[in-house]
Symmetry: C2
DNA sequence: ATCAGGTTATGATAATTATCATACGGGAAT
DNA sequence: ATTCCCGTATGATAATTATCATAACCTGAT
């Protein structure tokens, strides 16, 4: 992980996230935030947030792709969700807990913008509109997670595989051809099945000519069929 | 559903939820809320919030027990969670959506306190501390839901049944003997299994002498064994 | 270069869960 | 009282998924 000098690389003025995120915050306050924020770069695979660590910073994703996951006491890891920049990954639980109840890791090279929690809290305390916009974003993020959980839960193996493939194609890469950013094991950790069955069902989809697999690259050949599999479980 | 006259039954002064919920709100503001709030009574089985309905009110549970559930497009209902008064059921999604994305129904006779959204928003706008306390509560509620989802997800049928029985005993009724507030079907909708298998596994637990079943009444006889089943899936 | 460990892959088999069928009892409506 | 519907209950069977075993391949470490 690399800490980057603000002065050189980050210009909040041109940050398209700023306006989305810090709406209702005065220019003065934004400048104050900007001068004291820290930007961090993570390479694919690096851990951004470690479950159990104390929460000191408000972190949001500027670029990249991450996974949120939970390491239950003795069991294997479970992936909660994937998140792109606009999903504001760090919102979850930071206002209610002293320590993180989940971890975040980079699935692709990622850059975060980190602001001291004190600063966010102090701004929110004096600025109800900003606080409300925070609530709205927290809500959106968690609603999404819960609805996706329900969606996946009601499907069976093949439906879940089809669902996640379409999710990557539609929501993440906006293309029917993409490099899978996760291992088969991680897919298994997300949909709650075993690695072997994930691999098997991908192979089956390939044998049926619905997808093509070239190493890490996936190509959805018959989107209609895949969508039907996702729907009909 | 019965709308109750404020003057007669509701005294905000004695409401133990007020202090928890409206911390950081001035006495004046509380009085304003109190005079305009509406209290509603629901009988067991009645629907409190209907998925798809417009969100106009901020609703919290004063007494009773409810279930939150989601009716996916074509599929069967899925129960998201159960909630007691202090779980502040209505927080979920109300600040991010125009319409409810889930329903709420009373599992036991319940009373809600309803406040116009406008009023909450206007207070939060002018009072960052209150807004922050709202965020905290939204976070707590959704964290709980997500963690429980993960917990249930990693278990198998018997583990899930054991888990929910212990949940009712520990979190809801604080007793190893209680009337199940839900049907077998509703348990199935929560743990994501079929009714038949829920019934079967309850029967098996009974045959093994771990629980007793008298009609709707459940008695946990061997809590240790049940806890082990819940742990070991 | 070689070894260890992890990921992908496939098969055989066991375990788990769903589906279908049937039955019984209770409550609501006629 | 009778009928219908719903919830509970149980069994038989089919479908789905997990587990175990094995192997090929790749990558990082020594």
């Amino acid at each position: 992980m690399t800490v980057t000098d603000n002065m050189l690389t980050c210009n909040c003025e041109g940050c398209e996230l700023k306006s989305l995120f810090f709406e209702n915050v005065s220019t003065l306050e934004i400048e104050s935030i900007c001068s004291r924020k820290v930007e961090r770069e993570y390479q694919k695979g690096e851990i951004i947030i470690r479950e159990g660590a104390e929460i000191h910073e408000f972190i949001y994703l500027k670029s990249g792709l991450v996974k949120l996951y939970h390491s239950g006491s003795n069991s294997r890891e479970q992936i909660i969700c994937f998140a792109l920049p606009l999903d504001f990954v760090s919102l979850l639980s930071i206002f209610s807990e002293k320590r993180y109840i989940y971890s975040v890791a980079a699935l692709e090279d990622s850059i975060t913008c980190n602001i001291k929690m004190d600063e966010i809290i102090s701004i929110a305390t004096g600025n109800g509109r900003f606080a409300l916009s925070l609530i709205e974003k927290v809500n959106k993020a968690t609603d999404r997670i819960i609805l996706d959980f329900l969606e996946v839960k009601q499907k069976r193996l093949y439906g879940r595989i089809a669902y996640i493939l379409l999710y990557f194609a539609k929501s993440i890469y906006k293309s029917n051809s993409f490099d899978l950013p996760v291992s088969r094991k991680e897919i298994a950790e997300y949909i709650g099945m075993t690695v072997e069955n994930v691999i098997r069902s991908l192979s089956d989809l390939r044998k049926d000519g619905i997808i093509k697999i070239f190493g890490p690259k996936i190509e959805i050949v018959d989107e209609g069929k895949l969508a039907r599999i996702a729907e009909l479980s």
